[in-house]
Symmetry: C2
DNA sequence: ACGCGTCTGTTCGATGTCGAACATAGCATG
DNA sequence: CATGCTATGTTCGACATCGAACAGACGCGT
């Protein structure tokens, strides 16, 4: 049951035929996603999946020594733990809120059953799986080949797209976790971007000042991912474009 | 049509019910995979998929500046460009032979059609998609957080598993492409591993001398990936174990 | 207002990796 | 068996990132 009122903006849901969407709607619950909240733990059982409706939810890989990196960002075009629909319900990554917002919660087993018998729903999920694959591959290469500055810009741009405002809460510490680096390295890079006039920041609040500057400094991965997204889900909804 | 005789060792095919396998067999052609050969190009159309029967085929991401990294390795448990079954037939990565061997070639459209109507076949593919997702995520994190030495050991172990011999052809240059680094860095690392007594190498031929040593020096990713593989495909066939 | 704990931002020496140049071995060709 | 070509392996200075310690700002309870 959708307990609060909020228009559906998730692109996967919007792409469904009315009949299919109507069958899912009564089974979904709208929830708020709070900044930094962990939605699912590695190796935990996945009971529910979440269509992102506002904000961003991240897939974060945590290594044995405790260090971590983001390996994928799920925005309005996606759903959490989509691979839990492949017959195994154990989570591969931590799933945590990167940019707060809202999401539509749905039972994994229900969605799984619907998927088995609804071809349109399957088409929709396949399109997203394809996107997720591509994004993972891009990030795997990006993490190896691109500098911290480039990746930092990429990350800020992606967040900005979903934040719906030029200022949003973001600590260096959190960015370090996402970029798989240390707080001190993030601070160094942030200073460079600040001096270049691209961003401002004070005590956990960052402000995007010059988006074009970030785009120039970012690696190609931001443009690649955006292009692929538009190719698969249509060029609508570029929130801050 | 299978033109040569060679027993099927691909784990995906072996896991199929006899009836399903019998339907696929006449549509598959056994081919040799030559070292370094490019099977599919980025952005190229995927006409055929290849079940790996011997050796390893790599997914390599090439960036705009020409640098590259491996983002996934496909062994006996897998099939190339599996995401091309998600409705889009454009390749996300370069697909190239890492360890020479053989593969069973099958038409993408044929496999796609079979998938739509054969539940067992779909189960099989889903299991592999799940594995591929996990491996991509692991590699994305590994590329960021682990040292060249650790990743080099991981890579050598994976190759060794599929090479079916302690010596196999491998140049520093090729390793650099795979690990997303420079030839000089690979040479440095190789020297360290050689002095530790783990490997020998001369003019493009590498020999694994002390596997246990490599396992100790490798990052956790080798063990993680192996464990996940055994969990999903059974602990059989550890070729060099 | 004070002290305390926590969160945030900065500095600096140590180090892994880069990248360009150099050095060497094998191979084909006449 | 000279010659040049290509593939392979090594060296070294430059530089981005690490990591540990230091410095500063805010919130909260009393």
């Amino acid at each position: 049951m959708v307990s609060e009122r909020e228009p559906i903006t998730n692109r996967l849901l919007l792409s469904l035929p009315p009949a299919t969407l109507a069958r899912l709607t009564p089974e979904m619950e709208l929830i708020r996603t709070e900044s930094g909240a962990v939605i699912d733990h590695v190796n935990g059982l996945i009971q529910h999946l979440y269509f992102v409706n506002r904000g961003i939810i991240s897939m974060v890989k945590v290594m044995r020594d405790g260090r971590s990196v983001e390996v994928g960002a799920i925005g309005l075009e996606g759903i959490t733990d989509s691979n839990a629909l492949f017959g195994v319900d154990v989570a591969i990554t931590e799933t945590m809120v990167q940019v707060p917002g809202s999401a539509l919660k749905i039972s994994r087993t229900f969605l799984s059953r619907e998927l088995e018998r609804d071809r349109d729903l399957r088409r929709m999920m396949e399109r997203y799986w394809r996107f997720a694959f591509g994004q993972l591959a891009q990030t795997a290469a990006c993490n190896r080949l691109h500098t911290l500055e480039e990746r930092c810009c990429r990350w800020l741009l992606t967040s900005h797209d979903s934040a719906l405002a030029d200022s949003f809460p973001l600590t260096h510490e959190f960015l370090a976790t996402m970029l798989g680096t240390t707080r001190s390295s993030v601070s160094l890079t942030a200073k460079v971007l600040h001096r270049a006039g691209y961003i401002d920041y004070v005590r956990g609040i960052i402000t995007i000042v010059d988006r074009a500057g970030l785009e120039e400094t970012s690696c190609e991965c931001y443009a690649e991912t955006t292009a692929e997204m538009n190719r698969l889900f249509g060029p609508e909804t570029q929130p801050s474009g």
